[in-house]
């Protein structure tokens, strides 16, 4: 008995020693050298494994960066912060201005109330599946199907399904990774610069009556917003039947477009804009009265002008035009929620 216990101990110990020696030898002999920068880069990435960079997971992206295959700015959730840190690790110059923080917007306002439905859809609760079933239940062939494929795909929980059957974007959580953009079978979700406040919430390629028949807030392609009267700098141009916004041009004009749109198809993320006011420096030159797109300024020549507060939309176009700097915007921009 004694000897068999001893024997067992020796045998097992010897085997263990043998194997560990073998493993130690193998780990030396077959050591794979890994670039330490891979781990460093992995540390500064967002770590969400979202795949927005086009690589399967953060690690694959980090390896690709070290190999010089991937652009260092491809990590959208990490943003400029990640990019500059990677640049430091890779001892490269971060290209300034290459990366514009973006945010997703849902370009459809046709919820249960606004848009007509053709039939009740009882199939698989997935937008792509609904799209295959006779093109979905919405009468509008371009509208949001409201089954939340985008909500499910978002790794940051930035999307939620609203009461109206339309997804809502939480700007604070959205990293602009663009996964929802590709998840939407109708291409309704778009990435716009984070600084942009106005977007067109309709992607319908139809015009006029055809849009009116299916949706009360659809863009009818009238082109009013692209008229020089509304957007003199050309911030909005018409491409076929849809207005296209150039975010590099006059932001104030976009606010005017929001108010001029007959179908209310634009969305201004800033729900409450403060109105402007004219102080006593005003000598009544009349420039502001002339350029105000909504005729919210009144007053006689050479007398101090006044702002008609319930007409002013807070676009701010008049502010830089005043030669005496007598116009100012009072109060802060009112977002729907705290930021």
């Amino acid at each position: 008995m004694q000897s068999s216990t001893l024997l067992a101990l020796i045998a097992l110990g010897a085997l263990g020693l043998l194997f560990s020696a073998g493993l130690a030898y193998a780990s030396r002999k077959f050591a794979v050298e890994e670039d330490p920068r891979v781990i460093q880069i992995l540390d500064v990435l967002a770590g969400a494994n979202c795949g927005a960079c086009g690589y399967p997971g953060c690690r694959a992206f980090a390896e690709a960066v070290v190999e010089g295959k991937a652009p260092i700015s491809a990590c959208t959730p990490g943003g400029t912060e990640s990019t500059s840190k990677i640049a430091k690790i890779m001892e490269m110059e971060a290209e300034e201005g290459e990366y514009v923080p973006q945010v997703a917007v849902v370009r459809c306002r046709g919820g249960f109330k606004e848009a007509r439905t053709l039939f009740q859809y009882y199939g698989l609760q997935d937008c792509a599946a609904a799209q295959l079933a006779a093109g979905g239940s919405k009468a509008c062939a371009y509208g949001c199907l409201g089954l939340g494929s985008c909500v499910r795909v978002c790794p940051f929980e930035a999307l939620t399904m609203g009461d109206n059957g339309l997804p809502l974007v939480d700007d604070k959580r959205c990293t602009g990774c663009g996964l929802c953009v590709s998840a939407c079978p109708r291409g309704i979700i778009q990435l716009i610069p984070r600084s942009a406040q106005v977007y067109l919430a309709c992607v319908s390629q139809e015009r006029g009556k055809k849009v009116k028949a299916v949706c009360s807030v659809g863009c009818i392609g009238c082109g009013l917003c692209s008229k020089p009267k509304v957007t003199p700098s050309g911030a909005i141009t018409m491409a076929d039947s849809l207005p296209v916004i150039d975010y590099t041009k006059g932001a104030g004009e976009l606010v005017v477009a929001v108010h001029k749109c007959p179908t209310n198809s634009f969305v201004d993320k800033i729900v409450h804009r403060p109105w402007v006011s004219i102080d006593t420096k005003c000598d009544g030159c009349g420039i502001c009265k002339e350029i105000c797109p909504v005729d919210a300024i009144e007053g006689e020549q050479s007398h101090q002008h006044k702002v008609i507060t319930n007409k002013c939309i807070g676009c701010g176009i008049c502010v830089p035009k005043c030669p005496l700097a007598a116009i100012s915007i009072q109060g802060a921009l009112g977002y729907t929620e705290e930021r």
């Binding site: 097992l12 085997l15 073998g22």
Partner: protein, 193 residues
């Protein structure tokens, strides 16, 4: 030759490790969500099972039997299998990064899997020699892969099925596994050993 074929068929179909012997249920349920991953896991299991049956057979015949230490079977086999997988992983990573990436996480995952240990112990119980051990290990791995592939295929289809709410997820998976196991009972008369 005929006997080898019988061992192979019996390991793959009749006494399928997962569906008849109920070994390795954890990966069977865990990595059978997608056919791709199921195939990766299956390949890793075939690989490790074949190697493990060779090495456990050698250790058993050269160390345990001569010194009358058969009671150390389980602990020795686990030691052998774990070291072996670790060694294989290290070597693979250096020599064949492609295969290493293909097997990926599954290789270390199956180190302590009961299917592998079960295989080693069954080899001893059945008193197979080295060649039969290899064939049996290969067959067991193939059978595991087959079960995993069938399961993953069904589960992929199940995604689109209208499953009653209380049964969604794990419950329906277990029911499917049970039905699959019953289906494999049909093979029981195929081979008489």
């Amino acid at each position: 030759m005929g006997e080898f074929f019988i061992i192979l068929i019996s390991a793959v179909l009749v006494n399928n490790f997962v569906l008849a012997r109920f070994l390795g249920i954890c990966p069977f349920l865990g990595v059978s969500k997608k056919t791709d991953t199921a195939l990766g896991m299956g390949m890793a299991v075939i690989f490790v099972m074949t190697l493990a049956s060779i090495f456990t057979n050698l250790i058993h015949n050269l160390v345990l039997i001569p010194y009358h230490l058969e009671f150390l079977q389980i602990v020795t086999f686990i030691l052998v299998i774990a070291s072996l997988v670790q060694l294989v992983e290290t070597v693979l990573r250096k020599l064949s990064p492609a295969l290493y990436h293909a097997l990926g996480i599954y290789l270390p995952l199956i180190t302590t899997n009961c299917a592998i240990l079960g295989l080693a112990l069954l080899n001893v119980i059945k008193q197979y020699d080295l060649t039969r051990c290899i064939v049996f290990g290969l067959g067991a791995g193939l059978g595991f892969t087959l079960a995993l592939l069938i399961m993953s295929g069904i589960r992929e289809r199940l995604q689109f099925a209208d499953v009653p709410k209380p049964l969604r997820g794990v419950p329906i998976t277990l029911i499917v596994a049970g039905l699959l196991s019953m289906a494999f009972m049909g093979f029981s008369g195929l081979v008489k050993m």
